[in-house]
């Protein structure tokens, strides 16, 4: 018992798990460049965490006299594997969207449309391009209009 070693793999696994979690949450909250890389970086770090946990668990079960952490190893391996599966699903689900190949492209005409504003009044793209929007609705014609199609608030 006196010569027991620290089961470093379990600690390293925990470190990578935290990193994966933080980076996986960043795309939602942070205005940082390179955000395209974060979803798969999250997967990579998660996989590394699972690998370390498995290694730590193997050390603890094969050399229990030398390495502690059998219970922790099992718990962390199972939990991190489940988290990793969830990340895989989230990765798949957030990329499983229809392509936009048929959408208007740069240089093409933006089709006119009529939608409703928040008070239920109809408003068309032609109107939005012709007059300023907002309280008072005065001022010069806008140079351009930015259309942001979003998934809705739910």
């Amino acid at each position: 018992m006196a010569n027991q070693r620290v089961n470093r793999s379990l600690w390293l696994g925990a470190l990578f798990l935290v990193l994966a979690f933080v980076l996986g949450s960043l795309p939602f909250f942070a205005q940082i460049p390179g955000q395209q890389a974060l979803p798969w970086l999250n997967l990579l770090l998660g996989a590394v965490a699972v690998a370390f946990f498995i290694r730590g668990l193997l050390l603890a079960t094969r050399q229990p006299a030398l390495y502690r952490g059998k219970a922790a190893g099992w718990t962390l391996t199972v939990l991190s594997s489940l988290l990793f599966l969830f990340s895989l699903f989230a990765y798949y689900a957030s990329r499983h969207i229809p392509d936009a190949n048929a959408a208007p492209q740069v240089g093409q005409n933006a089709p006119d449309f009529e939608v409703k504003d928040t008070s239920g009044q109809p408003v068309s793209l032609a109107q939005l391009l012709a007059s300023p929007v907002g309280p008072g609705k005065t001022g010069p014609q806008p140079k351009a209009v930015l259309l942001v199609f979003y998934r809705g608030y739910w």
Binding site: P27, F28, Q31, Q35, Q36, L38, P39, S94, R95, I97, P98, D99, A100, N101, A102, A103, P104, Q105, V106, G107, Q108, N109, A110, P111, D112, F113, E114, V115, K116, D117, T118, S119, G120, V123, L125, A126, L128, L129, V133, G134, Q141, P142, K143, A144, V145, L146, L147, V148, F149, Y150, R151, G152, Y153, W154
Partner: protein
């Protein structure tokens, strides 16, 4: 302008709660979303049809000058990108 299938009341509450000052527009029947070929069929809650994320900058002649179509719903156009695209228009 931000467009979704949300009803006007839902957008009004969202704008009030989040303090948004840009215009929120409602397309509950997804007619504009269809016209722009952005429909994500059964992509919403309880299998409802929604829009896939997409951004367009349209100049005063009605011509598309800049677009952004993400491949991952977690990765969206940043305000700085959109501002730069808008500033490039005279």
């Amino acid at each position: 302008m931000a467009i979704s299938v949300d009803e006007p009341g839902v957008s009004r509450d969202l704008a009030r709660k989040a303090g948004y000052t840009f215009t929120l527009l409602s397309d509950p029947d997804a007619t504009a979303i269809h016209r722009y070929h952005l429909l994500h069929a059964r992509g919403g809650p309880e299998g409802s049809d929604i829009s896939r994320p997409a951004e367009f900058l349209v100049d005063r002649t009605g011509t598309v000058r800049w677009t952004n179509f993400t491949e991952d719903i977690r990765v969206r156009a940043r305000a700085a990108e959109m501002l730069a695209a808008a500033q490039a228009i005279n």
